[in-house]
């Protein structure tokens, strides 16, 4: 084994790249769940973002427009979910699944002509002397702007949920929708907005996969990233900074696993590539077993439909 050939700075840099797509999707879903809605369609919204973002970027030559397109694509699909669960009072679990199945099918159709194309490159952010610092420069300061914006987004969501008035209304709606309704808050409007935010974030996460991380379009390319993002929200016990820590932890596992593959460890690739899923399950078990702190932090009205009776 040639573990010595793995450069820790490169590893750290790759880890951040691997973590960003699921972090984006997870931070969006965290807000959705904080509003009391369980949207299992993250995988579908991510793949929509990956596909539409790719198509827009290739056709316009601009990754920025690609990301914007991806956010709108994810949001469009999430609006469908909002229509179903908020206006038509459908079962959230079934609707989320429908979203995922539909998204996977639709993108396979839309992206057909785009397989094998290379998207326009997203430039690295020029941080000047910072990226010259030994180790730290390579690890933390030589990335594309999306990685940094994602961290800013985590901070913004944290601030929004904790300190802003709108964030408190959102949390109230998620904790007890009947009480929030009695106080005069528009439960469905708040939830719809949260769902749209979640969709946009999932779309961005998908676009990060197809435009930066891979970068290519292939059918079903999210391979469960959306589900891992859902697990990440539970792991984070609905706290934004913990989602960041969890995503980076997860990114570390993915990157280490890929490096072991490349280093030619005597374990078949198929078994190594299982590890992200197995570790996600293990972490879920650990969190939900109640030994860890914050396991009962789930929003009170999560996955309960709201229908104003009066």
């Amino acid at each position: 084994m040639i573990l010595g050939s793995i450069n820790p700075a490169v590893l750290m840099a790759a880890l951040m790249v691997a973590a960003t797509p699921i972090l984006l999707a997870a931070i969006g879903e965290l807000v959705v769940e904080k509003a009391g809605v369980l949207n299992l369609g993250v995988e579908g919204m991510m793949i929509m973002g990956a596909c539409l973002g790719f198509i827009v970027a290739v056709n316009t030559g601009s990754p920025v427009l690609g990301f914007i397109g991806a956010a709108f694509a994810g949001m469009a699909l999430s609006l469908l979910f909002a229509l179903l669960t908020q206006a038509l009072m459908t079962n959230q679990v079934a609707s989320g699944l429908a979203l995922t199945l539909f998204g996977l099918g639709l993108t396979a159709l839309l992206g057909q002509k785009y397989v094998g194309i290379t998207p326009p490159r997203t430039p690295k952010l020029d941080l000047g002397p910072l990226s010259e610092i030994p180790f730290l420069g390579r690890a933390f300061f030589s990335h594309d702007i999306v990685i940094y914006l994602t961290i800013v987004l985590v901070a913004a969501v944290w601030w929004f949920l904790k300190y802003s008035r709108a964030g408190m209304i959102l949390r109230a709606v998620g904790e007890n929708h009947d009480a929030a309704h009695a106080l005069g808050y528009h439960v469905k409007r708040v939830r719809t907005l949260a769902i749209m935010f979640g969709g946009a974030c999932a779309g961005l996460g998908g676009a990060y996969l197809s435009l930066i991380r891979v970068p290519q379009w292939t059918e079903g390319m999210t391979v469960g990233a959306g589900w891992i993002a859902l697990a990440l929200v539970v792991f984070a016990s609905w706290r934004p900074w913990r989602a960041l820590a969890g995503a980076y932890l997860f990114g570390g596992v993915v990157v280490l696993q890929l490096n072991l593959q490349a280093a030619g460890v005597k374990i078949p690739v198929e078994y190594l590539s299982m590890s992200p899923y197995l570790i996600t399950i293990a972490v879920l078990v650990f969190i939900s077993s109640g030994k860890a702190r914050g396991s009962s932090n789930a929003p009170g009205s999560l996955n309960r439909p709201f229908h104003a009776s009066s």
Binding site: L80, M89, I281, S288
Partner: protein
């Protein structure tokens, strides 16, 4: 102004009518989609929904295919529906299907090339057991550690897919053909072959198993205490707990049944129509079966009809690819749309639209 009013009782009429309406709407929306793809919508819809059965030219080929495609869907969906009724969400049937196939094929390959009447029954048991075991992982994690069964069962699909690849490339690879992934062809191994029972009908043991499962599920849900407990736990979990229904037991039973049935479906597929353990063996039956379960109203009889319909779209999709160069993914979109329309229409089962005068106070 318009507002929704919750019905005291879900409307029986709409419960039955909605699946048909959803199919109709899907055909219309699908036709629009095909038109946008530059195909003649009427021809495409006819090709998918009618020609596999009624066409003179392909009918003789595709009619038997109907049972071959529908049987695994029905077998899996019947099991899933029991769980869905009790609010136990096994959405990882695809994984249980794969593991069942691997267990079944494993038995066959271990005995190869010995003849023996007992080999196929052993494969059946192994297949069911494999699916059962794979479903027990989320079940036990749920009952022991309260881990969300939706996420675990789904994540295990990806693990199962990788085990499948590892098996096709490693342990189960056919040693006689060097360089190609994939196991021996079980169709060429008589003792393990899940052959057509009546020539030209497509009926194999999987079809028989699906029929038995439907009858058993029907009897259980309508006549047996367990079926009553399942319904009770789904509709009134608190009441069920006071009534002495153990939620943990129910989780294990529901996941166990659906896992075993999905495993069986995988085993019948790998020993018959599929033929061998290959990387591309999994074809999404486990996910489509979720749609079948909902479209069939979680009712065994309804599931038979829904399974036949979605089986039909698989064949129709293949025909469409051949005849009209329709993209294969179009069928997936179709299936997704079907579920959307069904869910959307169902609001009128539980709610009624009321027009009220003036603003609400």
């Amino acid at each position: 102004m318009i507002r929704l009013e919750k019905r005291k009782e879900p409307s029986k009429f709409w419960r039955i009518a909605n699946p048909f309406l959803a199919v109709l709407l899907t055909m219309i929306a699908g036709g629009i989609m095909f038109a946008m793809l530059g195909k003649d919508p009427i021809t495409a819809i006819r090709l998918i929904f009618f020609d596999p059965i009624f066409s003179e030219t392909f009918g003789s080929y595709s009619r038997p295919q109907l049972l071959i495609k529908s049987a695994p869907l029905i077998l899996i969906a019947v099991g899933l529906a029991i769980g869905f009724k009790a609010n136990v969400w096994n959405i990882g049937a695809e994984g249980q299907y794969i593991i069942g196939a691997l267990f079944g094929a494993g038995v066959a390959l271990a005995f190869f090339p010995a003849p023996g009447w007992y080999i196929f029954p052993l494969m059946v048991i192994a297949g069911a057991f494999g699916g059962f075991l794979w479903a027990m992982i989320p079940a036990i994690l749920k009952t022991r550690f309260n881990t969300n069964e939706i996420l675990v069962s789904l994540l295990l699909v990806y693990v199962a897919e990788r085990i499948l690849a590892a098996m096709a490339l490693g342990l189960m690879r056919n040693p006689d053909i060097a360089g190609f992934p994939g196991s021996r062809d079980l169709r060429r191994y008589e003792a393990a072959h899940n052959a057509e029972l009546i020539a030209g009908t497509g009926i194999h043991w999987g079809v028989v198993a699906a029929m038995i499962a439907v009858i058993f599920a029907y009897a259980m849900m309508t006549r047996h205490m367990l079926g009553y407990h399942v319904q009770l736990a789904g509709q009134a979990p608190r009441a069920a707990r006071f009534g002495g229904v153990s939620p943990a037991r129910l989780v294990v039973i529901c996941l166990g049944i659906s896992g075993a049935l999905a495993g069986l479906a995988g085993m019948f597929e790998v020993s018959g129509p599929g033929g061998q353990v290959r990387i591309e063996f999994a074809s999404g039956y486990g996910f489509t079966a979720i749609i079948v379960a909902f479209l069939g109203r979680l009712n065994p009889i309804g599931i038979v009809l829904a399974g036949l319909l979605l089986g039909l779209t698989y064949i129709g999709g293949e025909l469409g690819q051949m005849m009209l160069q329709l993209p294969g993914a179009a069928i997936q979109v179709f299936q997704g749309m079907l579920l959307f329309f069904l869910l959307a229409l169902d609001f009128q089962t539980n709610y009624r639209i009321r027009l009220t005068q003036g603003a609400r106070i």
